[in-house]
């Protein structure tokens, strides 16, 4: 049932963020005379600078691995990851609720406690970003229903300290390929609306 990573997908590619073009991979797939000229000419022009996916700096150095090892599950904090449209972030109250008992003196935990006291939200940096300009409405629970595991898109967060992006989730070609291979809808309106 579980479909983790579609076959034939190169993993961990270096890609530019954002709405980037991907001439190279296309070339691998469809290297006929059909598009040869265009690859050389236009794709190069349209290709943006390639860079590694940056790991954003978080206001609090949250350690995923420690929490998972302590027995928490992803959905404990990201409550909507399986049942909701958005995975969501835990409320400050929820963090503080546990940490009132657990290591309340840890310097990073102190930041949470302070935020809770001041009734201030915490501004977490997004790790996996689909730009607003793409106008994509991703639905977590539809993917969970289909048996797609978290790590397919997010990588093995359980072994990370601060979450890092492992895959450019803004790469539409990747989405479409997976959809086609799993016979999910390839209608534009499935995501864009």
């Amino acid at each position: 049932m579980a479909v983790t990573r579609p076959e034939g997908l190169p993993s961990g590619r270096s890609r530019s963020l954002g709405d980037g073009e991907d001439g190279g991979r296309f070339g691998c797939r469809c290297a006929g005379p059909l598009a040869g000229i265009w690859i050389l000419g236009l794709a190069l022009v349209a290709c943006g600078p390639t860079q590694n996916l940056p790991t954003p700096e978080q206001p609090i150095a949250y350690d995923h691995q420690v929490h998972i090892e302590a027995g928490l599950e992803c959905v404990r904090c990201h409550r909507g990851a399986e049942e909701g449209v958005h995975a969501g972030m835990p409320s400050v109250q929820a963090c503080a609720g546990c940490h009132r008992r657990e290591i309340p003196d840890h310097p990073e935990v102190q930041k949470v406690m302070l935020a809770n006291e001041n009734r201030e939200p915490i501004r977490w940096a997004k790790v996996n970003v689909i730009p607003d300009s793409a106008m994509v409405h991703f639905n977590h629970r539809a993917h969970a229903r289909a048996g797609i595991e978290c790590l397919t898109c997010h990588g093995d967060v359980a072994s990370m300290t601060v979450a890092e992006p492992v895959r450019n989730v803004a790469d539409m070609g990747w989405c479409v390929e997976c959809h086609r291979e799993n016979e999910a809808s390839d209608d534009c309106l499935a995501c864009h609306r």
Binding site: C30, G32, L34, A35, D186, C188
Partner: protein, 178 residues
């Protein structure tokens, strides 16, 4: 002719074709091969103006080949890509004949034009890195005569004796001899 020692080049500029014609005829008679003779003119010369063999061109052939290639590329682009990456169209045709025809038509024309020009430049030695064999096409000190409407005769690969003779015969009618 090439390896036998130093070869000389004689250049001469003429005001009129008639002047040059006499020199060329004399040179041919003296045993100089037509292939050694290079004529530069400010405008195309008629076939019979000089007793030299007519140059050959395969531009037309390449043009037609370009047309075929361009047409195929455009067809592939318009029809092939749509078939390879079908978009949901809700039952409407993914590849429609007339639009593909239009794109193919334009591609054909583009291929033809591009190949024609490339071939013209190729044949004329005008593409970067491709000069005419044996130093032809190099700039000459007398090129300004061509620019000003005169004709330039260049005879390559002459022995010193041939060169001297040619120079002498040219001096009478030529504007300048180099």
């Amino acid at each position: 002719m090439t390896a036998a020692g130093e070869r000389h080049l004689v250049e001469a500029a003429y005001e009129r074709v008639e002047d040059m014609r006499a020199v060329v005829e004399a040179a041919l008679e003296s045993g100089i091969a037509a292939s050694q003779i290079e004529v530069r003119s400010p405008a195309p010369l008629e076939e019979d103006e000089l007793p030299l063999p007519k140059p050959k061109s395969r531009v037309l052939l390449f043009a037609l080949a370009g047309a075929v290639l361009g047409g195929l590329t455009a067809f592939g682009l318009a029809a092939g890509t749509a078939l390879a990456y079908p978009l949901p169209t809700g039952g409407m045709s993914i590849v429609a004949g007339p639009p593909v025809g239009v794109v193919t038509y334009e591609g054909t024309a583009l291929g033809l034009i591009l190949m024609t020009v490339l071939r013209v430049l190729w044949e004329g030695g005008l593409l970067p890195g491709r000069g005419i064999r044996s130093g032809r096409g190099r700039a000459s000190d007398l090129d300004h005569h061509v620019a000003n409407g005169r004709l330039l005769l260049r005879v390559h690969g002459l022995s010193e004796e041939q060169a001297g003779r040619l120079r002498d015969s040219s001096r009478t009618s030529a504007v300048e001899v180099g």
